[in-house]
């Protein structure tokens, strides 16, 4: 087994475990100043919601099975008990209704955080999100806005059934008026979610479910924001820049460590914010290394990798020592789990791709 596969295996076991057994209700300590918890990414999301709901009465959560059930991934665990059925609301099974309702709630002065159970089930609500929420500001000449957050687990690798492994962030990035973020660590998860909730515009908060429980990290109990629109350099390097986000950050880092042994020094940039993109960080990194790859789960054609490659050649062509290589999902539907590890970028593919770029 490759080290990535091992990492995955751990995740998935944890995942399966936590899904099959009754969830524990996490206790909130009374005094939360200056304290930190060791949290998984999904716990950090839950904590981010908790913290923000505690501080701002306008914040509410709504979606399918997020109440008593705490969400199918337990991302809203114990919030129902804490904040009651009017602030943590199980809705009917209707995604357009959930997002349309959220827009209206936002207009009334609330700060709704909607959960879509899986990205593959967002599409019935696509119109309300992409064609409605995105435009409330522009069509009203900024008199109105849609201060909503739409959270959804996305991505593959967890042996899920059909339609449960979507990674179509590119759809949302192409629509003006939407912001799109995705964390790759528990710390970022809480900070980005806090910023998303406070943002006056609609923010799509993509949750890399493959790493929901992959590892723990210290997360402050108090609230903090990570500014939307800022990438994070996860590993500095001088030979080649790896641009990635969400669950692909880890295999990218694994690949970088393996390549270090071959003397290739990778810089790994976790974009975090997919819309707006942090073009400065992307271009600066590329200008430093002169070589780049983009790693994402979505189909290659029309994926966000295209935007990044196009931007780099626009802004930094004269620094280009090799084509920017896109290591993505293939232009096919993500297969069921017997084959999904062939579909998703594995550390081995990432390494191989980086070698290509180095040897160009």
């Amino acid at each position: 087994m490759s080290s990535y596969a091992e990492t995955l295996a751990e995740n998935v076991e944890e995942q399966a475990e936590s899904e099959d057994s009754a969830p524990e209700t996490r206790e909130k300590p009374e005094d939360s100043s200056d304290s930190v918890d060791e949290l998984t990414l999904v716990e950090a999301i839950c904590d981010g919601l908790y913290t923000e709901m505690s501080q701002d009465e306008r914040v509410m959560a709504l979606g399918e099975d997020i109440g008593r059930n705490g969400g199918v991934f337990r991302a809203t665990d114990a919030l129902y008990e804490e904040f009651g059925e009017h602030r943590v609301v199980d809705t009917p099974l209707a995604e357009s209704g959930i997002i349309g309702a959220s827009i209206g709630l936002g207009l009334s002065g609330m700060r709704p955080v909607a959960e879509i159970q899986f990205m593959g089930f967002l599409y019935p609500g696509f119109d309300q999100l992409v064609s409605q929420a995105s435009r409330i500001r522009s069509r009203s000449h900024s008199q109105l806005s849609a201060p909503i957050v739409v959270r959804m687990p996305y991505g593959g690798g967890i042996r899920a059934p059909e339609h449960h492994s979507e990674s179509k962030e590119a759809f949302f990035v192409h629509e003006p008026g939407l912001k799109v973020v995705t964390p790759s660590t528990p710390y970022d998860a809480k900070g980005l979610l806090t910023a998303a909730i406070r943002d006056p515009d609609p923010v799509i908060f993509l949750e890399p479910k493959l790493i929901y429980r992959a590892f723990r990290e210290e997360v402050p109990q108090e609230s903090y924001e990570i500014e939307l629109g800022e990438a994070s350099i996860r590993r500095e390097g001088s030979d080649v820049s790896v641009f990635t986000w969400g669950a692909m950050t880890r295999p990218s880092l694994i690949a970088a460590e393996e390549l270090a042994e071959d003397g290739i020094d990778c810089e790994v940039v976790d974009l975090r914010s997919l819309s707006p993109l942090d073009i400065d960080t992307i271009v600066d990194s590329f200008e430093k290394t002169g070589r780049g790859v983009v790693v994402h789960e979505a189909p290659k054609t029309g994926g966000l990798g295209a935007e990044i490659a196009a931007t780099i050649q626009e802004e930094a062509m004269l620094h280009q020592e090799a084509p920017v290589k896109r290591i993505g999902g293939y232009d096919a539907h993500i297969p069921l789990h017997a084959l999904e590890d062939y579909y998703l970028p594995q550390a081995v593919r990432i390494q191989d791709g980086i070698h290509d770029v180095m040897e160009f």
Binding site: A94, L105, S108, P112, R137, S140
Partner: protein, 376 residues
């Protein structure tokens, strides 16, 4: 000839609330809503204005002074009445056809014309006006209106209700279903007004759904409903007022939301780009023209001596002046290309700034004529 039948479908009037008969006489057992003479006259003036506005807008379109326009003649009675039934703090969710409803609830006439002149400024809402920009994608406003009503309920702003307009065609969309189902489940203070003008462009009501009535669709959501003669402004007022009251302060066993099916008829074309003679018999509107909401209210007000010739003359001239002023105002609007970029996000992204600056440079370099507006 499925199509040709359609207008007749709704001509049995016994199943709906009516106060005025076709000639404006009060039905024997009906009660006229409790409105002062001044209120009645104001409502009537709004009707006259709406009718006049509609005709002017159609001719402005013909002259190329505004873009495609959706006429409301025949439907303005219901529009004016629903907005009259609102309290100031209530919100209105209108469609592209609800010009009169918007105006009565506070939008200026010139703001109605501005988008038709290509200016999104017309959708900018003054702080004290609770009217959403019009909704063009059919039925999308329904879950949103529901959501706003829910939000007010959650915030215990119990004196607020939300009124949402849509057409007969809208009842086929998933958003109608999802929105009203949520309204039932969360018991929100919303009034849904289905303006059943019997046509969705060229599709007649009975090809839209095999449901007996549109009002009865509310049963599927446990939501109350009522059918009302949408060409009778007093009946529409009464039904809407009752629904708004109930939304804010439901009695024991009452639920907050209501679906009102307001049965109307579109006297004219769907829009100025549409030619109804292609799909409906020329004489279909006749029946409804005899029940013209403006005539009916005028008939009633005259019979009650509330409306005199003098007052009518004053109304006509005020209406004329206001419309002229509105057209002047709308035609004096200038567009600022920077606005393309100004309202995408609360804070402009770097890429948008670059794009804005690029366009500024191009305009500088080549002049605005190089981008000159077509047909203007």
């Amino acid at each position: 000839m499925i199509h040709a039948q359609s207008g007749l479908h709704e001509q049995d009037e016994h199943d709906r609330l009516q106060i005025l008969d076709a000639d404006g006489n009060v039905h024997p057992h009906a009660t006229v809503p409790d409105l002062s003479d001044e209120e009645m006259l104001a409502m009537y003036e709004a009707l006259v204005l709406a009718r006049q506005f509609d005709q002017r807008a159609i001719s402005l379109q013909r002259q190329g002074r505004i873009a495609t326009y959706a006429p409301m003649t025949g439907q303005e009675g219901s529009q004016v009445a629903t907005s009259y039934a609102l309290d100031e703090q209530d919100w209105l969710f209108p469609t592209y056809r609800d010009h009169a409803a918007k105006h009565v609830h506070g939008r200026s006439l010139s703001s109605l014309l501005a988008p038709l002149r290509g200016h999104r400024e017309g959708y900018a809402i003054p702080d004290d006006v609770n009217v959403m920009p019009e909704y063009i994608p059919i039925a999308t406003q329904i879950p949103q209106a529901m959501g706003m009503a829910w939000g007010y309920k959650l915030q215990e702003q119990n004196d607020r209700a939300v009124l949402c307009h849509f057409g007969d065609g809208a009842t086929s969309e998933g958003d109608f279903h999802e929105g009203i189902n949520f309204a039932g489940v969360f018991d929100v203070p919303a009034v849904f007004v289905c303006n059943n003008n019997q046509w969705a462009i060229s599709t007649p009501r009975e090809r839209q759904t095999k449901s007996e009535t549109l009002a009865s669709k509310a049963d599927a959501y446990g939501v109350d409903s009522i059918r009302v003669d949408g060409l009778d402004p007093l009946a529409v007022y009464q039904a809407t007022r009752a629904a708004i009251r109930k939304a804010k302060d439901p009695g024991p066993g009452e639920s907050r939301p209501t679906l009102i099916e307001s049965i109307q008829y579109r006297f004219g074309a769907h829009t100025t780009s549409d030619d109804p003679s292609v799909y409906r018999p020329e004489d279909e509107p006749e029946y409804y023209r005899k029940r013209d909401p403006v005539d009916r209210l005028r008939g009633y007000l005259e019979s009650e001596d509330i409306l005199t010739d003098e007052r009518q003359a004053a109304i006509d001239s005020r209406v004329e002046d206001r419309i002229e002023a509105a057209i002047d105002e709308a035609e004096s609007l200038e567009a600022d290309p920077d606005d393309i970029f100004n309202h995408v996000y609360d804070e402009m992204s770097d890429r948008l700034k670059t794009q804005r600056d690029e366009l500024r440079e191009l305009r500088e370099k080549y002049g605005d004529d190089a981008f000159s507006e077509v047909l203007e």
